[in-house]
């Protein structure tokens, strides 16, 4: 929690710029701040669950930093090995469907032909409002 307090105090003068990785060591050890943890958990909608998991992410980031040693000036990113070919497009004809019943069967909560979701637009509680998720 102290890390978060430090960051909160630093945020104001920087006008809200979020620097998540400890600035003394931008591409070194890849330390994760509490704010980053919260941010990632919110984006991913999965939680770290333990300090070991955070440590593993830090190790993974440090591992990935090795990429920066490769010279890639003038190299285009490669998205697919089949980039030289045209993606196949089907003709726009309906050939299958009408299987609403089958598809609904796998859901836990349905009403008539609707999947039922809890109310939306309610953000997850912030870290300090939640039950502590990180176990030691």
């Amino acid at each position: 929690m102290w890390a978060r307090a430090v960051w909160l105090s630093l945020r104001a003068p920087f006008g809200g710029r979020r620097g998540f990785i400890s600035t003394e060591d931008p591409q070194g050890s890849g330390r994760i701040t509490a704010e980053m943890i919260e941010h990632l958990e919110r984006l991913a909608l999965v939680d770290f669950g333990s300090r070991e998991a955070v440590a593993r992410l830090e190790k993974a980031i440090a591992f990935s930093n090795r990429l920066h040693a490769v010279h890639t000036d003038g190299v285009e990113p490669m998205e697919s090995v089949l980039e030289d070919r045209c993606l196949y497009l089907r003709s726009d004809d309906v050939v299958e469907g009408n299987c609403a019943e089958e598809l609904l069967q796998n859901s836990h909560r349905i009403v008539e032909e609707y999947f039922v979701a809890p109310p939306g637009n309610i953000p997850l509680p912030k870290l300090d409002e939640q039950e502590p998720v990180l176990h030691s």
């Binding site: 190299v75 909560r109 999947f115």
Partner: protein, 527 residues
């Protein structure tokens, strides 16, 4: 004793054995080898029904082909209509797909008998088949006569079973299923080596086809730009038969190429003098490579040379970055692919109803294991705005460099590359779990991973047994869409090495009844 290359299909055609008998034999072996934990779901009724239909076809002289009546197994990350598909995860426990993956449909259309869905690392993330919600898969070779004989020499006071070795992963269940003779072929998936790795550790032929050759429709995706359905068999000919049935354009998967494909038979190569074999010694001869594997690799190169082939050392300069590059790209694609699991339309759903976000978060916490969650979080990190350029785009650039390395090597006249598949033979489970999943994957995928980066075809061929009596394999890597050529060379090599067949304890005990059909178990499918 070793395999005689007789023909199962011919035996079925001639009525020497019926599909039902064959099916029952395999079902009985599945029961006997249950402790291997290779299967998550055994589809006994389905298989017997299919066997009955197959039998009718044979009686009427209308068999569908070589695969008609042949028991097969499918990795549990392929959708199978009406049959639970779990990806070895709590997230999909109880999920019953309403459709078949294209590759599954193709096998069923050929009359193959579905014995069951096999175990894997959760969502195919892992290199040991040890991170499944259903428990780890045991390597059948842990129980082979060869391994036991060699272990008996070591004094050990512990429980007999505590030293079992892993199958490798993530398609370990499929590998164990084939290796234990419970089926003749199995489907796996290969994103970083997940078919070739367990093939090597279980003494099997493991094929990763060219990316775009075989449909991924129905294969629950891990990394869309690298996934490929994989094939595990005991013989190269069998893998070729299966590949011939599965390859080809699928309108449901727009990443399959439209080049026409026909089922093929592999010619029996006798003259390798026109071949050029590339050995990427510089980058692949790593210190961690076991001396046994190194020695076999060297002997294999010598074998080609002594038979007149040209054997050259080649360099793949960026290959050492492949694992790091894979880590970034894989976790990024995983972060995206796993986003579909929110509990709403299928799969596990938690009890929380406060808000959609709270429901999604709790569902995913409950549904995914640590490995999956870790990769999702890593992926989300690399995809953050401030990291996107430095990590994700950077990795895509490095991917191009790696793919180009292979292109350059093949353009210089090399037909196939010959490399190790794994660092060593299978290790004991207790040793394997000392390191975490990511560390292990990074270590174990080192020879196989770059192939997925470049979308090339590759195959593991079992070569020999280690000092411990465990299988060691070598990998051949071919040019894109030259899968047939790759398998032709692999078949020649397979013939030269004559890898010994497992002698599972049960098979030995069950001597008489099995021996007369014993040849059947180790037979090839080819006509």
């Amino acid at each position: 004793s070793h395999s005689l290359r007789e023909m199962v299909s011919a035996a079925l055609k001639q009525g020497q054995i019926t599909p039902t008998e064959l099916c029952q034999k395999c079902l009985s072996l599945i029961k006997k080898t249950k402790y291997l934990n290779a299967y998550i779901t055994v589809t006994e009724e389905v298989a017997l029904k299919q066997a009955e239909e197959s039998e009718k076809r044979y009686k009427n002289g209308q068999s569908l082909g070589v695969l008609d009546g042949i028991p097969i197994a499918i990795k549990d990350n392929f959708s199978t209509s009406g049959i639970e598909t779990t990806c070895a995860s709590n997230m999909l426990k109880g999920y019953v797909p309403p459709y078949n993956a294209t590759v599954v449909q193709k096998l069923l259309d050929q009359g193959a008998l579905l014995m069951g869905k096999t175990n894997l690392d959760e969502f195919a993330m892992g290199s040991g088949s040890t991170d499944s919600v259903f428990g780890p898969v045991k390597n059948p070779w842990s129980y082979s006569k060869q391994y036991r004989e060699r272990r008996r020499q070591k004094p050990h006071g512990e429980n007999e079973d505590s030293n079992w070795v892993i199958t490798g992963g993530s398609s370990g269940g499929s590998a164990a299923a084939v290796s234990a003779f419970t089926c003749f072929a199995a489907l796996g998936s290969d994103t970083g080596g997940s078919t070739r790795n367990p093939a090597a550790l279980c003494g099997l032929v493991g094929v990763k086809p060219s990316y775009g050759l075989v449909s991924r429709h129905g294969l629950i995706p891990l990394v869309n730009s690298m996934d490929a359905p994989g094939i595990l068999t005991r013989y190269v000919d069998d893998a070729a038969v299966v590949l011939g049935m599965l390859a080809g354009h699928d309108p449901k998967d727009s990443t399959t190429v439209q080049d026409p494909v026909k089922p093929f038979t592999l010619p029996s190569l006798t003259d390798v003098s026109k071949l050029c074999i590339g050995i990427p010694k510089k980058e692949y001869l790593v210190p961690e490579l076991s001396s046994e594997v190194r020695s076999l690799w060297s002997k294999a190169a010598d074998l080609f040379e002594s038979e007149g082939a040209k054997v050259v050392e080649v360099s793949l300069p960026h290959i050492s970055y492949s694992i790091v590059c894979y880590h970034v790209l894989c976790t990024s694609e995983v972060a995206s692919n796993m986003a579909r699991f929110d509990g709403l339309q299928y799969g596990h759903r938690c009890d929380i109803d406060v808000s959609t976000e709270a429901m999604y978060a709790a569902t995913r916490r409950e549904g995914f294991n640590e490995v999956v969650r870790g990769r999702i979080l890593s992926g989300n990190f690399f995809l953050l705005k401030e990291n996107y350029e430095n990590y994700f785009i950077k990795a895509q650039k490095v991917r191009r460099l790696i793919a180009n390395d292979f292109v350059n090597v093949f353009n210089s006249g090399v037909d196939v590359l010959l490399t190790p598949t794994t660092l060593s033979a299978a290790v004991p489970y207790l040793e394997f779990i000392k390191e975490d999943n990511r560390t292990r994957s990074a270590q174990d995928d080192i020879f196989t991973q770059a192939v997925n980066m470049a979308g090339l075809p590759a195959v593991n061929i079992p070569v020999a047994l280690s000092n411990q009596g465990l299988p060691i394999g070598l990998q051949f890597i071919g040019r894109a869409f030259c899968d047939q050529q790759l398998l032709t060379i692999a078949k020649w090599f397979e013939k030269q090495v004559e890898f010994p067949v497992t002698q599972l304890q049960e098979l030995m005990d069950d001597c008489s009844s099995v021996l007369e059909n014993g040849k059947l178990a180790s037979m090839s499918l080819k006509q």
